[in-house]
């Protein structure tokens, strides 16, 4: 399945890219993050993150569909 992933802030720096299209067999954000965490050595734990699918906050266990857009959201710090 193809999933579009965007990276922000510390995840963008650690992945050394802003976005990519993943070709993977994992179908929920939790499994995908665990895969990416190993791949890019992400410092953040899942418990520190939120996840957005197609620009909406979602659960880490939601089933993804082909070409969904996926964003892992580090702790925010606006203002």
């Amino acid at each position: 399945m193809k999933i579009k992933v965007m990276y922000f802030a510390v995840l963008r720096e650690q992945a050394k890219k802003s976005d990519e299209i993943l070709e993977i067999s994992f179908t929920n954000p939790r499994d995908i993050y665990n895969y990416l965490k190993r791949k890019y050595n992400f410092s953040l734990e899942i418990s520190e993150l939120k996840v957005a699918v197609n620009d909406c906050y979602e659960d880490f266990d939601i089933e993804l569909k082909e070409m969904d857009s996926l964003v892992f959201i580090p702790p925010v710090a606006g203002g």
Partner: protein, 141 residues
């Protein structure tokens, strides 16, 4: 309305928010401070997940309107590389009575800091200290 701006922003005039039944306007300016948690700060870099930020920001303003019976609310947040004294966020709230405007304005800035996908990285005066993505902290601004 909630806006994200890559360009430098100024304190807005309340003029565009005014209505004849408005008795109170409360505004908040969040500015880049020269220190945080004992560290001398040189500049800040803000990054945004724009689509979701605009959606969440708009939701916060609508919630504030319903919750506090205010008339209007507006928020603009800047992103990019900001220097000391620069305006990072401006909020304006209008209402009939002042109490609601104060409450709503504080609610909006608190919610923006908690829920809107914006991140900031602190660059320090002491260049031997590595720049750091900071988390929303109670004591910022």
């Amino acid at each position: 309305m909630f806006e994200i701006s890559i360009d430098s922003i100024e304190e807005y005039k309340s003029k565009s928010l005014l209505t004849p039944d408005c008795g109170a306007v409360v505004t908040f300016e969040g500015r880049v401070r020269n220190h945080n948690e004992g560290q001398c700060v040189d500049s800040l870099e803000y990054e945004v997940y724009k689509t979701l930020a605009e959606k969440e920001g708009e939701k916060i303003l609508q919630n504030a309107k319903v919750k506090f019976h205010i008339i209007n609310a507006f928020c603009i947040h800047r992103i990019g590389h900001l220097q000391i004294g620069d305006l990072a966020v401006w909020i304006g709230v209008t209402s009939k009575h002042r109490r609601e405007a104060f409450k709503a304005c504080e609610f909006i800035i608190n919610s923006v800091k908690e829920a809107v996908p914006i991140w900031k990285k602190e660059n320090y005066c002491d260049k031997s200290i590595e720049s750091k993505w900071v988390y929303c902290q109670e004591d910022y601004h």
